[in-house]
Assembly symmetry: C2
Homo-oligomer: 201 residues x 2
Amino acid sequence: MNFEAWQRRKRETLRVLRDHLEAGRVDRDIIDLLNVINSLPYAFTTSSCSGRIQVYEASMPGEKFELKTLGKWHSPITSKDLLGAMIGRNTWLAMLPPILHISVCSMVPANHLLKVLRGAGFKRAGIISMARDGIVIETIGTERIEMPLRLEGRDVIKLDAVPSLVNIVNSLLVKSKERLGRLKEALGDEITRGLDNICGE
Amino acid sequence: MNFEAWQRRKRETLRVLRDHLEAGRVDRDIIDLLNVINSLPYAFTTSSCSGRIQVYEASMPGEKFELKTLGKWHSPITSKDLLGAMIGRNTWLAMLPPILHISVCSMVPANHLLKVLRGAGFKRAGIISMARDGIVIETIGTERIEMPLRLEGRDVIKLDAVPSLVNIVNSLLVKSKERLGRLKEALGDEITRGLDNICGE
């Protein structure tokens, strides 16, 4: 690991993030958490999503590159929102949990951060790559809904069940976002713990 | 890292796996893949699931410790299977992708294995823990369905949509399992690549 290369990457990434923040392109629900992580001397965020509700057209779920988005929301939705997007031949509803990518300067803080993430309820957290200029941790919330609303041009969902479906999707989104707050608290405690010399080794 | 401690863990784990295999407790769809991974000098599997369809009762999805299983299948199901499990107050249908935990002897093969996994279509793969007796990699398929069948004692799903729902859930299960075969091929090529001295460093 090259600490200077990592620090250079951190400076560049934070500069780009600042531009995105000023342009209002960053999801509000996650800004405080990003600031806390980026103030840790051994870490910075490279990408994030605070969790969202999405309706999309695709023959199979999760076809990232072949889907057509019909609706996307970062906050709770109404039955009207959902019904308005319930069109198309094969249409899916997803409640996608928060996701974070964090670059750390060495293995010791990487291992440490994995434990902090799990302690704050982010059970799914792992190192996904190791390079000269940083070790990247990915963490994803575990709560998720991914379901067909329409298949072969016909509704799968009963229309009178839409309100209770919307209700459960919204609850799950709120629960996911609460976890972000808990993680912020846990990482806030980290700042004062004096792990600032950990990158040198 | 202590290579001898890791080798001891590997021997013990494979002994337990052999017992499970003989007792028929291991999911047939994944046995060949486990054998390939366990023949690599730098790796062994600690737990696995080849992917499954599950119907369960729970107030929220993914409540691992509070759910009541109403049906569980490791191979495609029929509409009758699904309808038979569509009971209860809050009932969920899940198509859970394959999951594998692999212990490796050091960071070099860990990094290498992450790349092989991604190359074989297991895009979600990461190091989840590092200890004296091994580095653990977790990988999970990305295809997933998790949806309510019943909420507050009432059906969410239209009964005439059950066949097309079953169809899509089965397709996704089959697709997930095909990935296991692809991973087996990719790892089979590894065996001859002479990475057997990689644990010493």
